[in-house]
């Protein structure tokens, strides 16, 4: 069911009435039951860092198996400038505003990671979105922020963007808030709450936000340098915020086993304080949760390593190859944690019914350094699985292969010559199994201006990595 036709149903939820008159779904379970099969995907497409004389673009991909253009890029929203590095993006409204009559999940907020330019795309016409507004970098730099990353809407129509650096590309980062007219409202938090920043997620019913750490833009922009690891320039901390106050309440240092904590996800159930974060460089997954009995009964968050991916020897590499789990997500029913090991070439699913003890359910060895499948439909895979997205019903997992243009060039240099692909696995949530769909292939190697990279994936009507419930 699309947001445009969502009825104003009323669903009692827990101890308060939940009036559903706005965008999204009343509950995660409603998203599963009422969400229709995804027929389109919006996918970041990029040329930054190459010699292709074209700006980055938002791809509209046809996912309807009954369509004549199935698996094709049916529209490209080209942006006005080159050099953006489109990376992550989000909606102006999601299920966190499902009580807001009149608000629509209509506008995509599309930041340029390198340029710090923020684009607003009107996607009312789902197959033919149009660029509406551009916030230029100089407007962002006025707030001493740069490198926009994660976009979430704040309930009631405002938008919050994690910013990884200051105006010079150094630390500290922070958060930029846009109002519902897509103008910069200001900094969301008092400056100086954190040094490093990356991804974040919030649970408004628990009044908590969690944020993770990559590094200063000047550190990660040029590429991955072990010298920076030795100098402590990469992050290893989680920050737990008072969501209403915008202040950090607790910081957990994950230590060396938690180096470069990237994607961070709370369970979808709004009552839950459990979540997961992938530590990319250490190849670990951490579980975090609020221990109400800690701190003399005041409660505090805990984090514990629960999954450890071993490095693997490869004849052509001098040192064991780390897995580099770069993306994770949680199925809408909170039962499975999915992730991608970009260097090894693996997508995996763990049963997290007991979040303290994830149980490996299944995995696919595809692409990357060790993947058993190295081509699909005769198309060589230039890199490993990276950004993932799951259907609302949990039955189809999709992924693209580009991480970040300069990091791609280091680890998979052929990605710039061949472009990215989008692949899909059919998931059986009941059995906990995945099967590669070899009939599915979307190829950014065949774009008119030249091979392009592809990064984050979003569904038009909500997905497992952007919807939050109040």
């Amino acid at each position: 069911m699309s947001d445009a036709s969502t009825p104003g149903d009323v669903e009692p939820s827990h101890d308060h009435e939940h009036h559903h008159e706005g965008p999204g779904y009343a509950t995660p379970q409603a998203a599963i039951e009422e969400g229709e099969r995804e027929e389109l995907a919006y996918v970041m497409g990029l040329y930054v860092g190459t010699d292709v004389d074209a700006p980055d673009f938002v791809s509209v991909v046809d996912l309807d198996p009954d369509s004549d253009t199935y698996c094709e890029i049916v529209d490209r929203i080209e942006l006005p400038n080159r050099g953006d590095e489109l990376h992550h993006f989000g909606w102006n409204a999601c299920s966190s505003s499902c009580h807001m009559d009149g608000l629509e999940r209509r506008h995509l907020i599309v930041p340029g990671q390198r340029s710090s330019r923020i684009h607003v795309i009107d996607a009312q016409d789902r197959r033919n979105p149009e660029l509406e507004t551009v916030i230029e970098p100089e407007e962002v730099f006025e707030y001493d922020l740069s490198a926009p990353h994660t976009v979430h809407c704040i309930p009631d129509g405002e938008i919050l963007i994690s910013m990884l650096g200051d105006a010079d590309g150094e630390l500290p980062g922070g958060f930029l808030e846009l109002n519902e007219d897509f103008e910069i409202e200001g900094r969301w938090e008092p400056p100086g709450e954190i040094e490093m920043n990356y991804d974040y997620w919030y649970q408004p019913r628990q009044n908590v936000m969690v944020s993770s750490e990559w590094a200063a833009p000047k550190t990660y922009y040029p590429g991955f340098d072990l010298e920076d690891v030795e100098e402590g320039n990469y992050g290893q901390r989680l920050h737990f915020w008072d969501w209403e106050a915008g202040t950090v309440e607790q910081t957990i240092d994950l230590g060396e086993e938690g180096l470069i904590p990237l994607e961070v996800r709370f369970l979808h159930t709004p009552e839950s304080t459990h979540g997961f974060v992938g530590a990319a460089l250490s190849s670990n997954i951490f579980h975090f949760w609020r221990d109400e009995s800690a701190a003399d009964g005041d409660g505090e968050y805990r984090a514990e390593k629960v999954i450890d991916f071993e490095s693997r020897e490869h004849d052509d590499w001098d040192m064991p190859v780390p897995a580099l789990p770069t993306d994770i997500l949680i199925s809408m029913d909170d039962r499975y944690l999915f992730g991608s090991n970009w260097l090894h070439g693996e997508v995996w699913m763990y049963d997290i019914s007991d979040p303290s003890n994830p149980r490996r359910a299944d995995s696919l060895s595809v692409g990357g350094t060790f993947g058993e499948v190295q081509e699909v439909q005769g198309r060589e895979l230039a890199a490993g699985p990276q950004m993932i997205q799951l259907s609302l019903d949990g039955e189809r997992l999709y992924w693209t292969t580009s991480l970040f243009s300069s990091w791609d060039d280091q680890f998979y240099p052929e990605e710039s010559e061949r472009g990215s692909v989008m692949l899909k696995a059919d998931v059986d949530p009941r059995k906990g199994t995945m099967e590669l769909d070899e009939d599915f292939l979307v190829d950014w190697g065949e774009c008119p201006a030249g091979p392009a990279r592809a990064h984050e994936i979003r569904w038009p009507d909500g997905d497992c990595t952007s919807d939050v419930w109040q």
């Binding site: 010699d51 590309g169 833009p217 922009y221 010298e227 001098d318 040192m319 190859v321 300069s406 280091q410």
Partner: protein, 129 residues
């Protein structure tokens, strides 16, 4: 305003000489000339626009070693360009090897610069391979 001839050289053998004023960046002049160079942040933080000095008129060439090793030899870079802001994306070893951020660099001498996206990818190697 003093200007200098900056010769851009691509890996495929193409070359283009651009006259660049001392108050404009090499990237800005190249854009006005219709030359396509990679760039990202335009603030000196990301390194996407990296070029590598091949020759500076009137000075010895910068160290010919690529990123990583080599004697400190930033004098040639300092003779060739002045920066509007700190070149934060470049480490000392990059500057010593003659790498230049074209988005914030203005010329102070005639020079030849290797350009194109492959220059940026030289800044860091795969540390495990």
């Amino acid at each position: 305003m003093t200007s200098h001839d900056v010769t851009l050289e691509w890996p495929d053998g193409r070359t283009r000489t651009v006259e660049v004023d001392e108050n404009e960046t090499i990237l800005e002049a190249a854009e006005c000339d219709g030359s396509v160079l990679p760039y990202g942040c335009r603030t000196g933080a990301c390194g996407t626009c990296s070029g590598r000095l091949l020759e500076v008129e009137g000075t010895r060439p910068p160290n010919s070693e690529r990123a990583g090793d080599g004697d400190a030899d930033v004098c040639a870079v300092d003779d060739a360009v002045a920066y509007r802001r700190l070149p934060r994306a470049l480490k000392d070893r990059h500057r010593a090897a003659g790498y230049v951020l074209l988005c914030i660099a203005s010329p102070r001498a005639d020079c030849r610069i290797e350009v194109g996206s492959s220059v940026h990818s030289e800044l860091v190697d795969n540390p495990w391979k």
